[in-house]
């Protein structure tokens, strides 16, 4: 009856330096996205869809912003006290710095993971992050893993090679041959064969048996490897069978302001909106009580998305508007992202702008970025006309 029980490890120690100032007080996992989500909602929804009720996460800082969103985990069925639950591990950065120097001892990161997996009594472990934004079916992944009798199965997406850019934090898979999905190496973009038209990007998602996980994590912990999913087996690709599983849905690597902006704008494309947000089970987030959004007689809206509890009296085009935003008459918003609780004064205009939460745009303020260089306004900033003009 407990057949195929899966536990989950979420590695949320992701590099967020290129997402500043949005990540000043939050991790990538708690970045607001798509009018009403946080990035953590995507892996959590995947867990829920696969009936996984136990997860441990590891985060570099204090995880305050993430905790405020997750709370008991009840929204995603992660609050079970019978066999499940959510196990937060915070401040891993400080602890890791201290422990990496101690020899002959599994560091606490791996120790905690092993401890969690053993206590969960699961048969399999799935490992994910939040930076690679996607909506993945873990049960299908598990079936593939079982069919292939793999030791480890890694998820990848075939990107069109010509549109791929060298990016320090992306790795690509090399396969044993043309017709096989056995992975022989993980390499940077420039190591790919130039004549191929597809680049299989590693999505940093892996599944394996709990037994295999404990084995690999014990090795990695003893060798003082940095705690990243792929480092668990990267050096063992010739000893164990690591298989690639192709994902064909929406994928975006949220590693910079630019890619974050693009991913949001992608949602205005109906195909992406359906692929990421409404495919299979729709994405679960913490629900909030709020009134319906009201569009006044003067509202002019084209190709835009809104969360609830907004009051829209101005013009909005090609933009995403989060909860509790008010947009006064004669305000114009275009190609922008406006986060929760922001207030846009009348006669103002925004173009290629990201407003973090609670920003106040005064009357007649004009802010303008460009498609390649989006302007970001920090949380709770008040932008008065003179300042706007200066900008």
């Amino acid at each position: 009856m407990m057949k195929n029980k899966i536990s989950a490890i979420l590695n949320l120690k992701e590099d967020d330096s290129k997402l500043l100032p949005l990540t000043e007080k939050r991790s990538i996992s708690s970045l607001p996205f798509g009018c009403r989500y946080r990035l953590i909602d995507f892996p959590f929804t995947s867990l829920h869809s696969a009936a996984i009720d136990s997860a441990a996460f590891f985060i570099a800082g204090n995880g305050r912003s993430l905790h405020d969103h997750i709370r008991s985990g009840a929204s995603w069925g992660l609050d079970s006290s019978i066999g499940g639950g959510l196990f937060p591990h915070t401040e891993t950065a400080i602890r890791e710095a201290v422990e990496m120097s101690k020899a002959d001892q599994i560091n606490s990161f791996y120790h905690d993971q092993i401890h969690y997996v053993i206590r969960s009594k699961s048969e399999y472990v799935v490992m994910m992050g939040t930076k690679m934004l996607c909506n993945i079916d873990i049960n299908a992944l598990l079936r593939y893993h079982q069919e292939k009798k793999a030791d480890v199965t890694v998820v990848y997406k075939n990107m069109v090679q010509s549109s791929c850019n060298a990016s320090e934090d992306e790795t690509y898979l090399l396969f044993e041959g043309q017709a096989t999905d056995r992975i022989t190496n993980l390499v940077s973009f420039d190591k790919l064969e130039a004549d191929k038209d597809k680049a299989p990007v590693n999505m940093d998602i892996a599944i394996m048996t709990s037994k295999k996980f404990v084995e690999l994590a014990t090795q990695a912990g003893k060798s003082k490897l940095r705690s990243e999913t792929m480092l668990l087996f990267k050096d063992h690709l010739d000893e164990i069978t690591v298989i690639g599983y192709e994902y064909t849905g929406y994928l975006k690597n949220i590693n910079s302001i630019q890619s974050y902006f693009e991913a949001n704008m992608d949602m205005l494309n109906e195909k992406n909106y359906n692929a990421l947000l409404t495919r299979g089970n729709s994405i679960i987030t913490k629900v909030k009580n709020g009134a319906p959004t009201f569009y006044s007689k003067d509202a002019k809206v084209k190709n835009a998305q809104f969360a609830s509890d907004c009051l829209v009296e101005g013009e909005v085009e090609n933009s995403l508007i989060f909860r509790k935003v008010t947009i006064a008459k004669d305000a114009k918003i275009n190609h922008s992202i406006v986060m929760q609780g922001s207030q846009i004064g009348s006669g103002s205009s925004l173009e290629y702008v990201i407003l973090d939460k609670g920003v106040k745009i005064g009357e007649g303020v004009h802010l303008k970025g460009t498609a390649d260089n989006v302007k970001v306004i920090k949380k709770n900033t008040v932008v008065e006309p003179e300042r706007g003009v200066k900008a």
Binding site: E270, P292, T293, F294, A299, Q305, A307
Partner: protein
């Protein structure tokens, strides 16, 4: 024995037959309202906002949707600290099988539940009105007056008074007479169906009645006259804010349209007196390139490619290109195809309106499409 001050009992058993199709399979308090609410949300939220955390919901007619909606009261923050919502249904006992006969009888049959909470006061509410009311203020009034019973009343235009139960009071707000739908009303104070009873006294009346005449079935018709006859202290507490009985299709439509007005007295955006409800997971609302949305309330999960004017759309409504929705209420999960025209209509949950359909009612003759109904489209033969 643990004691609480006030237990609320929401009477949610009524069919509301004048709502026609909308109450064929669900009880009236469960009928959707204002885009994302159900009618009973107002009474439940009023309780929580008034600091009353123990609520019994008395059901009888088609209760499943209502039970699912109310659950353990978590959505209203009722599932905490010895509080909670409890669904109360008719049941069989060694004395036989019993349905609730009237408002007072419904309370009598649930008196063991009430006694478990051992309250000083029982606040009896009707589950089918739209209003925001602080019951705590009414309770303060009740205590101040040392009343045996306080009846919430609302002034109505005198010409409409013959439609209501009317309370005639003296200058101290003491009720001296009750008239059910009087032809020649002496006052314009209509009963809101909101009562505060001293539980010990009410229980005495109901218990004694049980062993004698068994006539106290209804509060208005039976209990108030009995109290008046015995000279009990009954007072009227006047409520003067917005209050609406949504008993007919037209009044339901009208109340929704009033709700839509951003300057309306109900002021749904006021966070000091929130109206809570269940909140399903839904994607953001998507207004496409071809949409034109004005004077409208839209809820998450909607996908709109058509024109919406002076209307309320609930969760997960899809409106195709070239379609027009005007002066209408569209409940959740409705799919509207392309080039559809909908005016002065109420479209029930999960209805399907196919391309080119034309559904136009009038202000005093609102068109209703029932839950899960399918309108237009190819017939089976044409497919």
């Amino acid at each position: 024995m643990r004691k609480i001050e006030t237990l609320a009992m929401i009477l949610a058993g009524g069919q509301g037959s004048r709502l026609g199709k909308l109450t064929k399979e669900i009880a009236k308090p469960a009928v959707p309202f204002g885009g994302k609410y159900r009618i009973i949300d107002f009474a439940l939220s009023n309780c929580v906002n008034s600091g009353i955390k123990n609520v019994g919901v008395v059901t009888q007619y088609q209760p499943r949707e209502l039970n699912k909606h109310v659950g353990n009261g978590e959505a209203w923050g009722l599932n905490v600290h010895n509080g909670g919502a409890t669904i109360l249904q008719p049941y069989a006992s060694v004395d036989g099988e019993k349905w609730f006969k009237g408002t007072a009888n419904a309370i009598y049959q649930n008196s063991s539940f009430i006694d478990q909470h051992n309250p000083d006061y029982v606040l009896v509410l009707s589950g089918d009105h739209i209003y925001k009311m602080d019951y705590q203020k009414m309770l303060d009034f009740h205590k101040l007056k040392k009343a045996a019973l306080t009846v919430g009343v609302i002034p109505v235009p005198i010409e409409e008074a013959p439609r209501f139960g009317i309370m005639n009071t003296d200058q101290t707000d003491r009720i001296i007479e009750f008239e059910e739908k009087p032809e020649k009303p002496k006052s314009n104070l209509a009963s809101m169906g909101v009562y505060i009873f001293d539980w010990a006294l009410l229980k005495k009346y109901l218990d004694e009645d049980q062993s004698k005449r068994r006539e106290l079935e209804d509060f208005g018709k039976d209990v108030i006259p009995a109290y008046l006859g015995n000279g009990e202290n009954i007072f009227a507490y006047a409520f003067t804010d917005y209050w609406k009985d949504v008993g007919t299709i037209e009044s339901l439509w009208e109340a929704n349209m009033e709700f839509l007005d951003p300057t309306h007295a109900l002021n749904i955006r006021n966070s000091d007196w929130r109206i809570y409800s269940q909140n399903p997971s839904a994607s953001p609302q998507f207004l496409t390139e071809t949409s034109n949305v004005t004077d409208a309330m839209i809820v998450d999960g909607c996908y709109i490619a058509g024109d919406i004017t002076h209307s309320i759309l609930s969760h997960h409504v899809k409106v195709g290109k070239g379609s027009i929705v005007e002066n209408s209420i569209v409940m959740s999960g409705v799919t509207i195809g392309e080039n559809v025209t909908i005016k002065y209509a109420i479209i029930g949950d999960n209805a399907k309106i196919h391309d080119g359909a034309y559904l136009v009612g009038k202000e005093k003759e609102i068109m209703v499409v029932g839950y899960n109904e399918e309108i237009g489209g190819l017939t089976d033969d044409e497919k």
